[in-house]
């Protein structure tokens, strides 16, 4: 039985708290009920049509302090800071009176995983609106107690005060206890609420703890008498292999080792220290079975072989016929690479198992998913599992469905000890990897001579999702999804599958423009599906100085995309290419985004810069090298991520705030997407070579130059 509202209130409400519960509906599900005129085209095509109720809990305690519980976690995106701010401002309380409990399955509602840049958007606006209603409610309640009309009272600084006599005052903690269920908080309520939330630039709530090294991440948590545990890691895709032989005796003889044992295809080791466990796994020297599957050495071949049509996701007009009759018609294939999320804190969990009960402290984006995993792994009821989400040292998708909690729980059960399970980079890159999948995209377009897109077909070979293929107004289109039987394990990663599709579409757009002799920016403008891309393109062109002729071997490229329904973005990149070394350097980046209401410009700007640097990494060097059997990427030295010296000057504009057209739509992933394509387009403009495969490593660039 999952924890329900009643048991929760019994558990925490006690008799001294005043409890409010409410739900926030997800705006993406109701956009068509609350249409916003601008960008209606995007909504019609891309709204994810679901409607979810998130149940939230807020308590007012007798001492006037407030506790709010949300099942989301803070992954460095500042959720805790934003929510604390919102509530302290919404209820007019000093920040120290507001306590947040995030991601503890025993005392927080299941309000979905923290992913897809939606935490602030959904939970945030729900709380803001709820605070407004709670203020009204408390005024009514006080009016009843005082026997006066609510019109005579006002809510001020955590108390209800008579308008004409400030000595008549009831602090919120003094109001009688009870439970109030507020109605569902409707979408758009945030912005339309009487007093829009304004961020006061409050510093991060965890700031002092972070800079002094005292913030307790999962691996820092010490439950007392804890050992370490780990599993053997194979370079082969794990579903293709198993341990054939291993030296269990030698492993068990390593000092400090508690237990070494075979588990399924792999083997586990538990020891008194991290080092003893690693030594045990080394001594174990497992021999892994070589996969029997015949392999194709190149990723494209693996992805295409045996691929089957999964579904046609979009079909309009008669694209095949129109392609045939188009005066200009171009067919291309684009391929993106396998990539890895690489949070600086590897996947980590600490587990304690007693009989049929388990407690797991975990670095997770989705504590309730972790609870299901642990319950299944240990074959115990879900309500016997408590997951405590700890501050997360980066996640980027990989900790949505992290196996670390259930693996730790298994290790704890097998040894009867508390076990800390800290993934090594090897295990993160190989043994338990869930990569961003490589994608093959076949794209064909037909254009008129004066540069109007007429028809397009796209076939995407990818298992998960797909991105925005329809930034352009094309009357005849077909988009199909094919399965990808590549045996490497897939998972989510920041930017989702939109990056791959955008790379194909936006590279192809430049190729078409070039074939027609039209400037790529102008070509885009002639074919936009959504007019609001126009100002974004103008903004980035202005920022990057699009009109000037760049120096030799420099190039400027642009790209646009949309994400998550109503987030629009344009990015321009200037690169230089060293023809001798093949090294691409991004000289400048400019981004313009239309993402609705901006809550905290500073945080947003910082996050956006970070996201654009992700795009830079994906475009230029990030790659997990795999074939149909194994991965060749073992550690951080094999996987380059952006570093200080890669950072170009960046300029960013948010146009949406000026149009004041709605609620915050989130911007965590969007900037990654067009940045990748803008860089690829800039490289093509710099050296006149079009690359169809990412990343643009020096070797690939040199090869392209040689062949050109």
């Amino acid at each position: 039985m999952p924890l329900n509202r009643r048991t929760f209130l019994e558990l925490l409400g006690g008799s001294t708290a005043y409890a409010f519960t409410f739900s926030c509906s997800d705006g993406t599900g109701t956009v068509d009920e609350a249409p916003v005129e601008a960008d209606a085209g995007v909504i019609a095509n891309h709204a994810v049509r679901y409607f979810v109720d998130y149940t939230e809990w807020l308590f007012i305690h007798a001492d006037g302090s407030v506790t709010a519980h949300a099942g989301r976690v803070d992954m460095g995106q500042g959720l805790k800071t934003v929510l604390s701010n919102l509530i302290s401002q919404g209820l007019q309380l000093p920040p120290e009176k507001v306590e947040l409990v995030l991601g503890d399955t025993s005392s927080c509602p299941d309000d979905g995983p923290t992913e897809g840049s939606n935490a602030t958007r959904i939970v945030g606006w729900g709380y803001w609106r709820a605070c407004e209603r709670i203020r009204d409610h408390l005024v009514e309640r006080a009016a009843g107690i005082l026997g006066v009309s609510p019109k005579k009272l006002v809510y001020r600084d955590g108390a209800i005060v008579a308008k004409n006599d400030p000595t008549v005052r009831l602090a919120i903690g003094e109001l009688a206890d009870g439970t109030v269920h507020l109605d569902t908080i409707e979408p758009r309520a945030w912005y339309s609420s009487s007093t829009p939330y304004v961020d006061r630039g409050t510093p991060s709530v965890n700031g002092e703890a972070i800079v002094t090294g005292t913030l307790v991440y999962t691996g820092d948590f010490d439950p007392g008498d804890c050992c370490y545990g780990a599993f053997a890691s194979s370079q082969y895709h794990i579903q293709l292999t198993e341990i054939e032989a291993a030296d269990f005796a030698a492993a068990a003889a390593v000092p400090g080792v508690v237990k070494v044992e075979r588990t399924g295809a792999s083997a586990m080791a538990v020891g008194e220290s991290f080092t003893s466990v690693q030594r045990a796994l080394k001594a174990l020297a497992p021999r892994w079975r070589i996969p029997e599957r015949d392999r194709i050495l190149d990723v494209e071949g693996e992805i295409r072989r045996g691929a089957e049509l999964r579904k046609t996701v979009e079909e309009a007009g008669d694209p095949e016929r129109k392609l045939g009759s188009s005066p200009v018609r171009i067919s291309e294939t684009y391929i993106t690479q396998y990539a890895s999320q690489v949070p600086m804190e590897t996947e980590t969990a600490v587990a304690e198992v007693e009989g049929d009960r388990a407690t797991v402290w975990a670095s997770t984006q989705a504590p309730f998913k972790a609870r299901v995993r642990v319950a299944k792994r240990l074959k115990i009821p879900e309500e016997n599992v408590r997951i405590i989400a700890m501050p997360v040292g980066g996640a980027f998708g990989v900790k949505v469905d992290t196996p670390a909690p259930d693996e730790a729980a298994l290790l704890a059960r097998k040894t009867g000890r508390r076990v800390k399970h800290v993934y090594t980079r090897e295990y993160q890159f190989n043994g338990r990897a869930r990569y961003k999948e490589a994608v093959v995209a076949d794209i064909t377009s037909g254009v008129t001579e004066n540069g109007r897109l007429v028809a397009r077909t796209i076939d995407l070979y990818q298992d998960e999702g797909f991105g925005s293929a329809d930034t352009y107004d094309i009357p005849h289109v077909r988009t199909r999804l094919f399965s990808s039987p590549m045996p490497a394990r897939h998972g989510t990663m920041r930017g989702t599958s939109f990056v791959q599709t955008c790379f194909a579409v936006e590279s192809h757009t430049d190729v078409l423009a070039e074939a027609l002799g039209i400037d790529p920016l102008e070509f885009r403008k002639r074919n936009l599906a959504v007019a609001s891309f126009g100002p974004l393109l103008d903004a980035v062109a202005e920022m990057i100085g699009y009109q000037r002729a760049p120096d030799g071997d420099h190039g400027i490229g642009v790209a646009i995309c949309h994400h998550g329904g109503r987030q629009l973005g344009a990015v321009a990149a200037e690169v230089s290419v060293d023809r001798t070394s093949g090294v691409v350097r991004v000289e400048r980046l400019a981004g313009a985004f239309d993402i609705g209401l901006v809550i905290n410009l500073n945080t947003l700007t910082a996050n956006t810069k970070g996201a654009m640097l992700w795009g830079l990494g994906f475009a230029l060097f990030e790659e997990v090298r795999v074939d149909g059997h194994q991965s060749f990427t073992r550690g951080l030295s094999d996987y380059r991520i952006p570093r200080f010296s890669d950072v170009p000057p960046m300029e960013i504009a948010f146009l949406s705030n000026e149009t004041k057209d709605g609620w915050p739509r989130g911007c965590g992933e969007l900037p990654v997407i067009p940045t990748v394509s803008a860089i690829a387009n800039a490289v093509a403009r710099a050296i006149g070579v079009r690359f169809h495969t990412l990343p643009l490593t020096p070797e690939r660039v040199l090869e392209g130059l040689r062949e050109s």
């Binding site: 460095g76 804190e345 570093r643 950072v647």
Partner: protein, 161 residues
């Protein structure tokens, strides 16, 4: 496999006597024996800088230094030795003021590395900051704010409380 030995480590000014395998990396001794968990495990391969500490004023990656290599009078300083909550160092304050972090996991290593830079070069240029810190990785890509934070201290901007 080496046997446990008596080893004395001087960390943040305090001597600690431990009976321990001299082959044990300093990182895990700091974290598990001395409970100084501000020094983070990011890779264990010397590739990320999350585990950076000062030894006699120079930056070292504690995952790559075994305790057996250290002398009893080596001065080891961890992030905890630079300032405490409520009593931040100037550099720590600058990181807070510039929100020079996302998740914060790389931050102790960043601050320790920047501390060493500022001790040897109190007025580095932005380029010098970038090259001194280039081997410290931040997946949240808070790089621009980190450079600003370090530069604000380097520029002699005094803190005003």
């Amino acid at each position: 496999m080496a046997r446990a030995e008596k080893i004395t480590l001087k960390v943040n000014g305090e001597p600690h006597s431990l009976t321990i395998d001299p082959g044990e990396p300093l990182l895990w001794v700091l974290r598990d024996q001395l409970k100084l968990t501000g020094t983070k495990f990011g890779c264990g391969e010397g590739e990320c800088g999350a585990c950076s500490v000062l030894i006699n004023g120079e930056v070292f990656r504690s995952c790559m230094v075994t305790v057996g290599e250290l002398a009893a009078d080596d001065q080891i300083v961890t992030i905890e030795g630079l300032g405490r909550p409520g009593n931040l160092s100037e550099l720590q304050r600058a990181f807070v003021d510039h929100t020079a972090f996302g998740c914060g996991y790389c931050t102790p290593g960043m601050i320790v590395t920047a501390e060493a830079l500022l001790r040897s070069n109190p007025h580095p240029s932005r380029d010098e900051i970038v090259s001194a810190m280039d081997d410290n990785l931040c997946r949240c890509a808070s790089y621009p704010a980190i450079v600003e934070a370090v530069a604000s201290v380097a520029g002699g901007v005094k803190r005003e409380d």
